[in-house]
Amino acid sequence: MTEPALLSVEGVSVDLPTPRGNLRAVDQIDLRVGAGRTLGIVGESGCGKTMLSRAILQLLPKKAKLSGRVMFDGQDLVGLDPERLRKLRGRSLAVVFQDPMTSLNPVLTIGTQLIETLQEHLELDGNAAKRRSVELLAAVGIPAPEQRLMQYPHQLSGGMRQRVAIAIALSCEPKLLIADEPTTALDVTIQAQILDLLAREQRRRHMAMILITHDLGVVAGRTDEVAVMYAGRVVERAPTPALFKKMRMPYTEALLAAIPKIDAAPHTPLPAISGRPPDPTRPIQGCSFSPRCRYAAGQCHREKPSLAAAESLDHQYACFHPIEVAAGATA
């Protein structure tokens, strides 16, 4: 881990004031993504994964308080002046959100939105930008791209809209793409197509990617490294093959076990995680997963375990009672 990372998130916390008190959405997170690498961030709704991506992009709600450093390509994005940030976002730092309908402007044509981005960041003239737009739409698998340029977002299906959002994100050859639940709103067959598309474009452009999802199945074959988040913290982090071969954090294991297996017989009861994530405005003393954890003992309820490496430096987990036996990969 000595080579300089493209993105380095250092001790980042996000606090949000709410009527019920302070809500710590992201709690002391450290992460690194190397150029051309893929990091998967996995966790349930409310675990802070989207807040973390917004903290990286400097797109937090106005009232949010951010601490720590976000080093991207040699500069700290925290406190960078808005004009320079704007130049960076869209250009070398791009994002694809879950719902393409909310990230596309409903009253502008696809063409206007693509061409605008290209002209703004790459200073192309009208014709060059239009040519480039057609190429981009073709590259993301949109049939009849010339005609699509004249269409509005509502005239496209959900999958096609997400392809357009990806085309816009890729338009300026970003160094890092943050894909925040890019396929959650889509059907399984379209999900597979979109994930393939992202992987293909990533390889072609040697672009780094952060793939945020709640589904361990989505990150398994498509990331180099995975960070599992729970209640605002990273609770386990490892290279993807190592994680699936030997999960150490009981939460990661439970998340995997809860996915229905296609080779299991019908009516096999699923090992569900009992209870639900803690209320982030009322921090839990000790490990935040302890109320739902079947291995939790005395120490877990008193002390917060820190994220630490054990047998290998790149496999870290925050747990006092890590799982000893190999688990997961055979499931």
Binding site: Q193, G217, L255, A258, I262, I273
Partner: protein
């Protein structure tokens, strides 16, 4: 090879859907949402119904309940034709058939207390004694794993998505129905909560002796709870069969494609590159012949000319395809 119009076990069907056609008129055009569908659900069985968005699976569920009237065809529930019923008779029958929706928060009235929401079906069905209603509400909340004392006086927004789905299930169960249509009941939930709700549905099925029509787009979820699975594409059934048989030996190329698209949580299993070709065409102008042919790797001229009928390929497994992936029985 005999075309078979009733592809399912004929023993004691609780629900029989016969040649059902449902269409919507939109701006002078017709959406062919459900086209000539035949199905049976045996008493005590869970039938899974899968397909992509817009394939007509929700419309089929609604047409069973007569929330959307069919253009033609019949829906027999316990031997009686629901499509011929009106007003009071229909309302009486609906007591025996309930519906659970995808979005648990949106399907609860945000301004009413949980106790009132669950008691409402009881009020409508004429149970006048408030104490009896309270008792029934308490019982059903206990059954779905909620503490009635802590729940009845609160409003839906005070609960998480998973808890709201438990409340919706309680509301569906309170009249002690025989049949429940679950329309994507877990699609809006996180993995961990999803497992809880699927387990709960299985428990409730055993406890209340239910028959389920389980509609979802996720094949893995459907397999976890279903005895048999019906695969739907653009308003038509592609394949019907016992869950395990269908997963082990899919006969329709579309079923195979859906199975391949399930993300496998194992990094050694490399995702098959671009298993799916394109997107479903518009249900306003479905392709001639086999509706799946525009995305099918095996399609030929015959697929464009001739609508494939459901035919037996194995015991209880039926496929509507001119080029099935397994040899016909």
């Amino acid at each position: 090879m005999m075309p078979i119009s009733q592809p399912s076990p004929s023993r004691d069907p609780l629900l029989t859907v016969e040649n059902l056609v449902v269409e919507y008129a939109v701006g002078g055009k017709t959406i062919h949402a459900v086209s000539d569908v035949n199905l049976q659900v045996a008493r005590g069985e869970t039938l899974g119904l899968v397909g992509e968005s817009g394939c007509g699976k929700s419309t089929l569920g609604r047409a069973v309940l007569q929330l959307r009237r069919a253009v033609s065809g019949r829906v027999l529930f316990d031997g009686q034709d629901l499509t011929a019923m009106q007003g009071d008779t229909l309302r009486q029958m609906r007591r025996r058939v309930q519906l659970i929706f995808q979005d648990p928060i949106a399907s609860l009235n945000p301004r009413r207390r949980i106790g009132d929401i669950i008691a409402e079906p009881l009020v409508i069905s004429g149970i006048k004694d408030p104490r009896q209603r309270e008792q029934l509400v308490r019982d059903v909340l206990g059954a779905v794993g909620l503490d009635a004392a802590l729940v009845v006086g609160r409003l839906p927004h005070e609960f998480s998505g998973g808890q709201c789905q438990r409340i919706c299930i309680a509301r569906a169960l309170v009249l002690n129905p025989e049949f429940i249509i679950c329309d994507e009941p877990v699609s809006a939930l996180d993995v961990s909560i999803r497992a809880q709700i699927l387990n709960l549905l299985e428990e409730m099925k055993a406890r209340y002796g239910l028959t389920l029509l389980f509609i979802a787009h996720d094949l893995a979820v459907v397999k976890a709870v279903s005895d048999r699975v019906a695969v739907m594409y653009l308003g038509r059934l592609c394949e019907v069969g016992p869950s395990e048989q269908l997963f082990a030996h899919p006969a329709h190329p579309y079923t195979a494609l859906l199975i391949e698209a399930i993300p496998v949580p194992d990094p050694d299993v490399r995702p098959a590159e671009s298993v799916a070709v394109g997107e479903p065409p518009s249900p306003m102008s479905p392709p001639s012949g086999c509706r799946f042919r525009t995305r099918c790797p095996k399609a030929d001229r015959r697929c464009g000319d001739e609508v494939p009928e459901l035919r037996a390929v194995a015991p209880n497994q039926f496929v509507a395809c001119h080029h099935p992936l397994i040899a016909t029985a």
